[in-house]
Symmetry: C2
Protein backbone atom coordinates (compact mmCIF):
# COMPACT_ATOMS: atom_id res chain seq x y z
CA UNK A 1 0.00 0.00 0.00
CA UNK A 2 1.33 3.41 -0.99
CA UNK A 3 0.15 6.83 0.13
CA UNK A 4 -0.13 9.28 -2.75
CA UNK A 5 -0.77 13.02 -2.54
CA UNK A 6 -1.96 15.24 -5.37
CA UNK A 7 -2.27 18.97 -6.00
CA UNK A 8 -5.64 19.51 -7.66
CA UNK A 9 -7.09 22.50 -9.53
CA UNK A 10 -10.77 22.82 -10.29
CA UNK A 11 -13.18 25.31 -11.76
CA UNK A 12 -15.86 25.33 -9.06
CA UNK A 13 -18.58 26.58 -11.42
CA UNK A 14 -19.92 23.17 -12.41
CA UNK A 15 -19.71 21.49 -9.01
CA UNK A 16 -21.97 21.35 -5.96
CA UNK A 17 -18.91 21.97 -3.82
CA UNK A 18 -15.87 19.85 -3.04
CA UNK A 19 -17.31 17.25 -0.67
CA UNK A 20 -19.09 14.14 -1.98
CA UNK A 21 -22.90 14.22 -1.83
CA UNK A 22 -25.34 11.68 -3.23
CA UNK A 23 -26.71 12.49 -6.71
CA UNK A 24 -24.73 15.73 -7.00
CA UNK A 25 -21.67 16.49 -9.11
CA UNK A 26 -18.87 17.17 -6.62
CA UNK A 27 -15.09 17.41 -7.00
CA UNK A 28 -14.44 14.61 -4.52
CA UNK A 29 -17.10 12.36 -6.05
CA UNK A 30 -15.69 12.91 -9.54
CA UNK A 31 -12.10 12.12 -8.45
CA UNK A 32 -13.19 9.02 -6.52
CA UNK A 33 -15.13 7.71 -9.52
CA UNK A 34 -11.99 7.98 -11.64
CA UNK A 35 -9.84 6.29 -8.96
CA UNK A 36 -12.39 3.49 -8.70
CA UNK A 37 -12.17 3.00 -12.45
CA UNK A 38 -8.36 2.84 -12.23
CA UNK A 39 -8.64 0.29 -9.39
CA UNK A 40 -10.93 -2.01 -11.40
CA UNK A 41 -14.02 -1.22 -9.37
CA UNK A 42 -12.44 -1.09 -5.90
CA UNK A 43 -13.52 2.03 -4.03
CA UNK A 44 -10.70 4.44 -3.09
CA UNK A 45 -11.40 7.07 -0.42
CA UNK A 46 -9.65 10.42 -0.85
CA UNK A 47 -8.96 12.93 1.91
CA UNK A 48 -8.59 16.65 1.09
CA UNK A 49 -6.99 19.52 3.02
CA UNK A 50 -10.55 20.71 3.58
CA UNK A 51 -13.78 21.17 1.69
CA UNK A 52 -14.74 24.16 -0.45
CA UNK A 53 -18.31 25.38 -1.01
CA UNK A 54 -20.26 25.26 -4.28
CA UNK A 55 -18.81 27.76 -6.76
CA UNK A 56 -15.48 28.13 -4.92
CA UNK A 57 -12.45 27.35 -7.10
CA UNK A 58 -9.38 25.30 -6.34
CA UNK A 59 -5.92 26.21 -7.54
CA UNK A 60 -3.78 24.25 -5.08
CA UNK A 61 -6.16 21.92 -3.25
CA UNK A 62 -4.29 18.92 -1.81
CA UNK A 63 -5.63 15.37 -1.45
CA UNK A 64 -4.24 12.04 -0.40
CA UNK A 65 -5.28 8.46 -1.00
CA UNK A 66 -3.86 4.95 -0.59
CA UNK A 67 -3.31 2.58 -3.46
CA UNK A 68 -1.93 -0.85 -4.27
CA UNK A 69 -1.16 0.17 -7.85
CA UNK A 70 2.47 0.49 -8.87
CA UNK A 71 2.50 3.63 -10.98
CA UNK A 72 5.13 6.38 -11.20
CA UNK A 73 3.98 9.88 -10.11
CA UNK A 74 4.17 11.32 -13.65
CA UNK A 75 2.18 8.39 -15.00
CA UNK A 76 -0.40 8.84 -12.20
CA UNK A 77 -0.81 12.46 -13.24
CA UNK A 78 -1.23 11.59 -16.90
CA UNK A 79 -3.69 8.75 -16.22
CA UNK A 80 -5.85 10.81 -13.87
CA UNK A 81 -5.93 13.82 -16.21
CA UNK A 82 -6.93 11.57 -19.10
CA UNK A 83 -9.89 10.20 -17.15
CA UNK A 84 -10.93 13.35 -15.26
CA UNK A 85 -13.25 15.96 -16.84
CA UNK A 86 -11.62 19.18 -18.11
CA UNK A 87 -12.78 21.21 -15.09
CA UNK A 88 -10.53 19.19 -12.75
CA UNK A 89 -6.78 18.97 -13.41
CA UNK A 90 -4.09 17.26 -11.38
CA UNK A 91 -1.10 19.61 -11.13
CA UNK A 92 1.26 17.10 -9.57
CA UNK A 93 1.41 13.77 -7.79
CA UNK A 94 3.87 12.84 -5.00
CA UNK A 95 4.58 9.59 -3.22
CA UNK A 96 4.31 10.33 0.51
CA UNK A 97 5.31 8.70 3.76
CA UNK A 98 2.52 6.41 4.96
CA UNK A 99 1.67 8.84 7.78
CA UNK A 100 1.21 11.93 5.61
CA UNK A 101 -2.29 13.36 6.05
CA UNK A 102 -3.73 15.99 3.67
CA UNK A 103 -5.95 17.44 6.38
CA UNK A 104 -4.22 16.93 9.74
CA UNK A 105 -0.74 17.95 8.56
CA UNK A 106 -1.74 21.33 7.13
CA UNK A 107 0.44 24.09 8.59
CA UNK A 108 -1.03 27.02 6.61
CA UNK A 109 -3.50 27.79 3.85
CA UNK A 110 -3.70 30.65 1.41
CA UNK A 111 -6.93 31.81 -0.17
CA UNK A 112 -7.37 34.50 -2.81
CA UNK A 113 -10.45 36.51 -3.64
CA UNK A 114 -10.92 38.36 -6.95
CA UNK A 115 -13.12 41.46 -7.11
CA UNK A 116 -14.00 42.98 -10.49
CA UNK A 117 -14.24 46.76 -10.14
CA UNK A 118 -15.61 47.71 -13.59
CA UNK A 119 -19.03 49.28 -13.92
CA UNK A 120 -20.08 46.73 -16.56
CA UNK A 121 -20.24 43.02 -15.94
CA UNK A 122 -17.76 40.86 -17.86
CA UNK A 123 -19.13 37.71 -19.54
CA UNK A 124 -15.75 35.99 -19.36
CA UNK A 125 -15.16 36.60 -15.64
CA UNK A 126 -18.74 36.22 -14.36
CA UNK A 127 -17.92 32.90 -12.67
CA UNK A 128 -14.38 33.84 -11.61
CA UNK A 129 -14.68 37.27 -9.97
CA UNK A 130 -17.17 39.08 -7.77
CA UNK A 131 -18.51 42.02 -9.77
CA UNK A 132 -18.47 45.07 -7.51
CA UNK A 133 -19.20 48.28 -9.44
CA UNK A 134 -18.85 50.69 -6.51
CA UNK A 135 -16.08 53.06 -5.48
CA UNK A 136 -13.66 51.54 -3.00
CA UNK A 137 -11.33 53.28 -0.58
CA UNK A 138 -8.50 50.75 -0.81
CA UNK A 139 -6.38 52.52 1.81
CA UNK A 140 -9.10 52.10 4.45
CA UNK A 141 -9.48 48.48 3.42
CA UNK A 142 -5.75 47.98 3.98
CA UNK A 143 -6.00 49.60 7.43
CA UNK A 144 -8.82 47.20 8.31
CA UNK A 145 -6.83 44.26 6.92
CA UNK A 146 -3.86 45.12 9.17
CA UNK A 147 -6.16 44.94 12.20
CA UNK A 148 -7.24 41.40 11.28
CA UNK A 149 -3.68 40.08 11.02
CA UNK A 150 -2.47 38.12 14.03
CA UNK A 151 -4.06 35.77 16.54
CA UNK A 152 -7.75 36.45 17.22
CA UNK A 153 -10.97 34.72 18.13
CA UNK A 154 -12.78 34.84 14.77
CA UNK A 155 -16.26 33.93 16.06
CA UNK A 156 -17.63 37.16 14.54
CA UNK A 157 -16.07 36.20 11.22
CA UNK A 158 -17.47 32.72 10.73
CA UNK A 159 -20.87 31.36 9.80
CA UNK A 160 -23.32 31.01 12.71
CA UNK A 161 -23.52 27.38 11.57
CA UNK A 162 -19.85 26.75 12.46
CA UNK A 163 -19.61 23.59 14.53
CA UNK A 164 -16.01 23.84 15.79
CA UNK A 165 -15.76 25.29 19.28
CA UNK A 166 -12.19 26.56 19.08
CA UNK A 167 -12.38 29.78 17.05
CA UNK A 168 -8.90 31.18 17.64
CA UNK A 169 -6.93 31.37 14.40
CA UNK A 170 -3.79 33.18 13.26
CA UNK A 171 -3.86 35.25 10.09
CA UNK A 172 -0.27 35.65 8.92
CA UNK A 173 -0.88 37.65 5.75
CA UNK A 174 -3.78 39.75 4.46
CA UNK A 175 -2.86 41.72 1.35
CA UNK A 176 -5.01 43.76 -0.99
CA UNK A 177 -3.53 44.31 -4.42
CA UNK A 178 -4.83 46.26 -7.40
CA UNK A 179 -4.33 44.25 -10.58
CA UNK A 180 -5.77 46.07 -13.58
CA UNK A 181 -9.54 46.30 -13.13
CA UNK A 182 -9.44 43.76 -10.30
CA UNK A 183 -8.75 43.91 -6.61
CA UNK A 184 -7.14 40.71 -5.35
CA UNK A 185 -7.26 39.89 -1.65
CA UNK A 186 -4.73 37.27 -0.50
CA UNK A 187 -5.15 35.82 2.94
CA UNK A 188 -2.93 33.30 4.64
CA UNK A 189 -3.40 31.71 8.02
CA UNK A 190 -2.95 28.58 10.10
CA UNK A 191 -6.59 27.63 9.60
CA UNK A 192 -9.93 29.05 8.56
CA UNK A 193 -13.41 28.68 10.01
CA UNK A 194 -16.53 28.10 7.93
CA UNK A 195 -17.08 31.09 5.56
CA UNK A 196 -14.29 33.00 7.33
CA UNK A 197 -12.55 34.25 4.18
CA UNK A 198 -15.83 35.29 2.55
CA UNK A 199 -16.95 37.17 5.68
CA UNK A 200 -13.57 38.92 5.97
CA UNK A 201 -13.83 39.95 2.29
CA UNK A 202 -17.43 41.10 2.74
CA UNK A 203 -16.40 43.15 5.78
CA UNK A 204 -13.42 44.70 3.97
CA UNK A 205 -15.74 45.70 1.11
CA UNK A 206 -18.09 47.40 3.59
CA UNK A 207 -15.08 49.30 4.91
CA UNK A 208 -14.15 50.16 1.31
CA UNK A 209 -17.56 51.68 0.57
CA UNK A 210 -17.62 53.60 3.85
CA UNK A 211 -20.42 51.57 5.38
CA UNK A 212 -18.07 50.62 8.22
CA UNK A 213 -14.94 52.14 9.72
CA UNK A 214 -11.59 50.33 9.57
CA UNK A 215 -11.09 51.20 13.22
CA UNK A 216 -14.20 49.18 14.15
CA UNK A 217 -12.45 45.88 13.38
CA UNK A 218 -11.18 45.34 16.99
CA UNK A 219 -14.67 45.80 18.42
CA UNK A 220 -16.14 43.47 15.77
CA UNK A 221 -13.65 40.79 16.86
CA UNK A 222 -14.39 41.42 20.54
CA UNK A 223 -18.16 40.96 20.17
CA UNK A 224 -17.75 37.29 19.16
CA UNK A 225 -21.05 37.53 17.31
CA UNK A 226 -21.55 36.84 13.60
CA UNK A 227 -23.85 39.88 13.33
CA UNK A 228 -20.98 42.19 14.29
CA UNK A 229 -19.14 41.65 10.98
CA UNK A 230 -20.10 42.32 7.34
CA UNK A 231 -21.93 40.24 4.76
CA UNK A 232 -20.55 37.00 3.32
CA UNK A 233 -19.02 37.74 -0.11
CA UNK A 234 -20.19 35.34 -2.87
CA UNK A 235 -18.47 32.01 -3.41
CA UNK A 236 -17.46 32.44 -7.06
CA UNK A 237 -14.74 35.05 -6.35
CA UNK A 238 -12.92 32.70 -3.95
CA UNK A 239 -9.92 30.44 -4.70
CA UNK A 240 -8.23 27.93 -2.41
CA UNK A 241 -4.80 29.01 -3.59
CA UNK A 242 -2.15 27.02 -1.72
CA UNK A 243 -1.85 24.56 1.16
CA UNK A 244 1.37 24.28 3.15
CA UNK A 245 2.36 21.24 5.20
CA UNK A 246 4.54 20.79 8.20
CA UNK A 247 7.76 18.98 7.48
CA UNK A 248 8.04 15.46 8.80
CA UNK A 249 11.12 14.88 10.94
CA UNK B 1 -39.81 53.18 -36.05
CA UNK B 2 -36.28 53.64 -34.77
CA UNK B 3 -33.15 51.73 -35.77
CA UNK B 4 -31.03 50.71 -32.78
CA UNK B 5 -27.53 49.22 -32.81
CA UNK B 6 -25.86 47.40 -29.96
CA UNK B 7 -22.37 46.19 -29.12
CA UNK B 8 -22.73 42.70 -27.67
CA UNK B 9 -20.30 40.48 -25.73
CA UNK B 10 -20.91 36.80 -25.21
CA UNK B 11 -19.15 33.78 -23.79
CA UNK B 12 -19.56 31.33 -26.68
CA UNK B 13 -19.15 28.26 -24.43
CA UNK B 14 -22.83 27.73 -23.73
CA UNK B 15 -24.17 28.50 -27.21
CA UNK B 16 -24.60 26.49 -30.41
CA UNK B 17 -23.14 29.46 -32.29
CA UNK B 18 -24.43 32.93 -32.97
CA UNK B 19 -27.11 32.28 -35.59
CA UNK B 20 -30.62 31.22 -34.60
CA UNK B 21 -31.43 27.51 -35.00
CA UNK B 22 -34.55 25.64 -33.94
CA UNK B 23 -34.35 23.94 -30.51
CA UNK B 24 -30.76 25.08 -29.89
CA UNK B 25 -29.46 27.76 -27.54
CA UNK B 26 -27.98 30.45 -29.78
CA UNK B 27 -26.91 34.04 -29.11
CA UNK B 28 -29.28 35.48 -31.71
CA UNK B 29 -32.21 33.35 -30.52
CA UNK B 30 -31.61 34.39 -26.90
CA UNK B 31 -31.46 38.11 -27.76
CA UNK B 32 -34.58 37.91 -29.96
CA UNK B 33 -36.53 36.16 -27.19
CA UNK B 34 -35.69 39.02 -24.83
CA UNK B 35 -36.63 41.64 -27.44
CA UNK B 36 -39.93 39.85 -28.06
CA UNK B 37 -40.65 39.98 -24.34
CA UNK B 38 -39.90 43.72 -24.28
CA UNK B 39 -42.22 44.20 -27.29
CA UNK B 40 -45.15 42.41 -25.60
CA UNK B 41 -44.92 39.34 -27.80
CA UNK B 42 -44.18 41.03 -31.14
CA UNK B 43 -41.26 39.35 -32.87
CA UNK B 44 -38.21 41.59 -33.47
CA UNK B 45 -35.62 40.44 -36.02
CA UNK B 46 -31.98 41.31 -35.27
CA UNK B 47 -29.17 41.54 -37.83
CA UNK B 48 -25.55 40.99 -36.77
CA UNK B 49 -22.25 41.96 -38.41
CA UNK B 50 -21.88 38.26 -39.15
CA UNK B 51 -22.33 34.93 -37.45
CA UNK B 52 -19.81 33.15 -35.23
CA UNK B 53 -19.49 29.36 -34.85
CA UNK B 54 -20.29 27.33 -31.74
CA UNK B 55 -17.71 28.01 -29.02
CA UNK B 56 -16.44 31.26 -30.59
CA UNK B 57 -16.66 34.25 -28.27
CA UNK B 58 -17.90 37.77 -28.92
CA UNK B 59 -16.28 40.84 -27.42
CA UNK B 60 -17.50 43.51 -29.84
CA UNK B 61 -20.19 41.84 -31.96
CA UNK B 62 -22.57 44.45 -33.44
CA UNK B 63 -26.29 44.00 -34.09
CA UNK B 64 -29.14 46.20 -35.25
CA UNK B 65 -32.92 46.01 -34.94
CA UNK B 66 -35.94 48.23 -35.44
CA UNK B 67 -38.34 49.17 -32.68
CA UNK B 68 -41.41 51.27 -31.99
CA UNK B 69 -40.51 51.58 -28.30
CA UNK B 70 -39.42 54.98 -27.01
CA UNK B 71 -36.53 54.16 -24.72
CA UNK B 72 -33.27 56.04 -24.14
CA UNK B 73 -30.04 54.15 -25.09
CA UNK B 74 -28.86 53.82 -21.47
CA UNK B 75 -32.28 52.47 -20.44
CA UNK B 76 -32.21 50.04 -23.38
CA UNK B 77 -28.86 48.74 -22.18
CA UNK B 78 -30.10 48.33 -18.60
CA UNK B 79 -33.37 46.65 -19.63
CA UNK B 80 -31.68 44.18 -22.00
CA UNK B 81 -28.96 43.27 -19.50
CA UNK B 82 -31.58 42.67 -16.82
CA UNK B 83 -33.45 40.22 -19.06
CA UNK B 84 -30.50 38.57 -20.82
CA UNK B 85 -28.62 35.63 -19.26
CA UNK B 86 -25.20 36.38 -17.70
CA UNK B 87 -23.28 34.95 -20.68
CA UNK B 88 -24.56 37.73 -22.97
CA UNK B 89 -23.95 41.38 -22.05
CA UNK B 90 -24.84 44.52 -23.98
CA UNK B 91 -21.85 46.87 -23.88
CA UNK B 92 -23.62 49.86 -25.43
CA UNK B 93 -26.70 50.88 -27.38
CA UNK B 94 -26.83 53.64 -30.03
CA UNK B 95 -29.70 55.18 -31.95
CA UNK B 96 -28.76 54.94 -35.63
CA UNK B 97 -29.86 56.49 -38.90
CA UNK B 98 -32.65 54.38 -40.42
CA UNK B 99 -30.30 53.16 -43.17
CA UNK B 100 -27.55 51.83 -40.84
CA UNK B 101 -26.94 48.14 -41.44
CA UNK B 102 -24.87 46.00 -39.03
CA UNK B 103 -23.78 43.64 -41.80
CA UNK B 104 -23.65 45.63 -45.05
CA UNK B 105 -21.94 48.70 -43.57
CA UNK B 106 -18.98 46.85 -42.03
CA UNK B 107 -15.68 48.38 -43.17
CA UNK B 108 -13.34 46.16 -41.14
CA UNK B 109 -13.36 43.44 -38.52
CA UNK B 110 -10.81 42.42 -35.94
CA UNK B 111 -10.54 38.93 -34.50
CA UNK B 112 -8.23 37.73 -31.75
CA UNK B 113 -7.05 34.22 -31.04
CA UNK B 114 -5.62 33.13 -27.67
CA UNK B 115 -3.12 30.27 -27.49
CA UNK B 116 -2.10 28.87 -24.08
CA UNK B 117 1.54 27.77 -24.23
CA UNK B 118 1.89 26.02 -20.85
CA UNK B 119 2.60 22.32 -20.67
CA UNK B 120 -0.31 21.77 -18.28
CA UNK B 121 -3.91 22.52 -19.09
CA UNK B 122 -5.57 25.34 -17.13
CA UNK B 123 -9.07 24.64 -15.75
CA UNK B 124 -9.93 28.35 -15.79
CA UNK B 125 -8.95 28.98 -19.39
CA UNK B 126 -10.03 25.68 -20.95
CA UNK B 127 -12.95 27.34 -22.78
CA UNK B 128 -11.14 30.60 -23.53
CA UNK B 129 -7.76 29.60 -24.99
CA UNK B 130 -6.42 26.87 -27.25
CA UNK B 131 -4.04 24.78 -25.17
CA UNK B 132 -0.90 24.22 -27.25
CA UNK B 133 1.91 22.63 -25.19
CA UNK B 134 4.54 22.56 -27.96
CA UNK B 135 7.57 24.76 -28.64
CA UNK B 136 6.82 27.59 -31.04
CA UNK B 137 9.23 29.57 -33.18
CA UNK B 138 7.43 32.89 -32.88
CA UNK B 139 9.83 34.69 -35.25
CA UNK B 140 8.97 32.28 -38.10
CA UNK B 141 5.29 32.71 -37.31
CA UNK B 142 5.71 36.47 -37.63
CA UNK B 143 7.47 36.04 -40.99
CA UNK B 144 4.55 33.91 -42.20
CA UNK B 145 2.07 36.46 -40.85
CA UNK B 146 3.76 39.26 -42.85
CA UNK B 147 3.27 37.25 -46.02
CA UNK B 148 -0.48 36.98 -45.38
CA UNK B 149 -0.96 40.73 -44.95
CA UNK B 150 -2.37 42.53 -47.99
CA UNK B 151 -4.83 41.66 -50.74
CA UNK B 152 -4.98 37.98 -51.62
CA UNK B 153 -7.32 35.31 -52.88
CA UNK B 154 -7.88 33.35 -49.63
CA UNK B 155 -9.45 30.24 -51.23
CA UNK B 156 -6.75 28.07 -49.61
CA UNK B 157 -7.57 29.64 -46.23
CA UNK B 158 -11.32 29.07 -46.07
CA UNK B 159 -13.49 26.04 -45.47
CA UNK B 160 -14.16 23.90 -48.54
CA UNK B 161 -17.82 24.49 -47.66
CA UNK B 162 -17.51 28.25 -48.33
CA UNK B 163 -20.37 29.33 -50.58
CA UNK B 164 -19.21 32.85 -51.55
CA UNK B 165 -17.48 32.94 -54.91
CA UNK B 166 -15.44 36.09 -54.37
CA UNK B 167 -12.49 35.04 -52.18
CA UNK B 168 -10.31 38.12 -52.44
CA UNK B 169 -9.90 39.82 -49.08
CA UNK B 170 -7.52 42.37 -47.61
CA UNK B 171 -5.75 41.65 -44.33
CA UNK B 172 -4.62 44.97 -42.89
CA UNK B 173 -3.05 43.73 -39.66
CA UNK B 174 -1.77 40.38 -38.46
CA UNK B 175 0.14 40.62 -35.18
CA UNK B 176 1.44 37.94 -32.86
CA UNK B 177 2.06 39.06 -29.31
CA UNK B 178 3.44 37.18 -26.33
CA UNK B 179 1.37 37.94 -23.23
CA UNK B 180 2.60 35.96 -20.23
CA UNK B 181 1.97 32.29 -20.94
CA UNK B 182 -0.27 33.12 -23.90
CA UNK B 183 0.31 33.97 -27.53
CA UNK B 184 -2.34 36.34 -28.86
CA UNK B 185 -2.88 36.63 -32.60
CA UNK B 186 -4.76 39.76 -33.72
CA UNK B 187 -6.02 39.89 -37.27
CA UNK B 188 -7.83 42.72 -38.95
CA UNK B 189 -9.24 42.84 -42.44
CA UNK B 190 -12.01 44.12 -44.66
CA UNK B 191 -13.79 40.78 -44.49
CA UNK B 192 -13.27 37.14 -43.58
CA UNK B 193 -14.33 33.93 -45.31
CA UNK B 194 -15.78 30.94 -43.48
CA UNK B 195 -13.18 29.56 -40.98
CA UNK B 196 -10.55 31.91 -42.43
CA UNK B 197 -9.17 33.13 -39.10
CA UNK B 198 -9.04 29.62 -37.64
CA UNK B 199 -7.24 28.25 -40.73
CA UNK B 200 -4.74 31.14 -40.67
CA UNK B 201 -4.06 30.44 -36.97
CA UNK B 202 -3.76 26.69 -37.62
CA UNK B 203 -1.30 27.37 -40.44
CA UNK B 204 0.75 29.81 -38.35
CA UNK B 205 0.98 27.16 -35.61
CA UNK B 206 2.26 24.61 -38.14
CA UNK B 207 4.91 27.16 -39.14
CA UNK B 208 5.69 27.67 -35.44
CA UNK B 209 6.32 23.96 -34.84
CA UNK B 210 8.40 23.64 -38.03
CA UNK B 211 5.89 21.47 -39.86
CA UNK B 212 5.73 24.14 -42.57
CA UNK B 213 8.05 26.90 -43.75
CA UNK B 214 7.06 30.55 -43.47
CA UNK B 215 8.26 31.04 -47.03
CA UNK B 216 5.66 28.56 -48.28
CA UNK B 217 2.81 30.99 -47.59
CA UNK B 218 2.83 32.55 -51.11
CA UNK B 219 2.58 29.13 -52.77
CA UNK B 220 -0.22 28.10 -50.36
CA UNK B 221 -2.15 31.21 -51.42
CA UNK B 222 -1.45 30.55 -55.12
CA UNK B 223 -2.80 26.99 -55.04
CA UNK B 224 -6.33 28.19 -54.23
CA UNK B 225 -6.98 24.83 -52.59
CA UNK B 226 -8.05 24.29 -48.97
CA UNK B 227 -5.66 21.34 -48.68
CA UNK B 228 -2.68 23.62 -49.29
CA UNK B 229 -3.02 25.36 -45.89
CA UNK B 230 -2.86 24.07 -42.31
CA UNK B 231 -5.49 22.65 -39.99
CA UNK B 232 -8.41 24.66 -38.65
CA UNK B 233 -7.60 25.80 -35.08
CA UNK B 234 -10.40 25.08 -32.56
CA UNK B 235 -13.29 27.51 -32.09
CA UNK B 236 -12.89 28.21 -28.36
CA UNK B 237 -9.67 30.28 -28.74
CA UNK B 238 -11.35 32.73 -31.13
CA UNK B 239 -12.89 36.12 -30.30
CA UNK B 240 -14.78 38.48 -32.61
CA UNK B 241 -13.03 41.50 -31.13
CA UNK B 242 -14.21 44.64 -32.91
CA UNK B 243 -16.31 45.65 -35.90
CA UNK B 244 -15.71 48.95 -37.68
CA UNK B 245 -18.27 50.74 -39.83
CA UNK B 246 -17.98 53.15 -42.70
CA UNK B 247 -19.06 56.65 -41.86
CA UNK B 248 -22.35 57.79 -43.33
CA UNK B 249 -22.10 61.06 -45.27
Amino acid sequence: MKRISGIVSYDGTGFSGYQIQPDLRTVQGTIEQVLQRMHKGDFVRTTASGRTDAGVHGVGQVIHFDTTLHIEPSAWKRALNTLLPADIRIQSITEEDPDFHARYDVSAKEYRYRILRKFDEDVFRRNYTYHFPYELDVLSMRTAAELLIGEHDFTSFCSAKTEVMERIRIITKLEIEEAGDELVISIEGNGFLYNMVRIIVGTLLEVGTGKREATDIPSMLEKKDRDAAGKTAPAHGLYLWKVNYKKHC
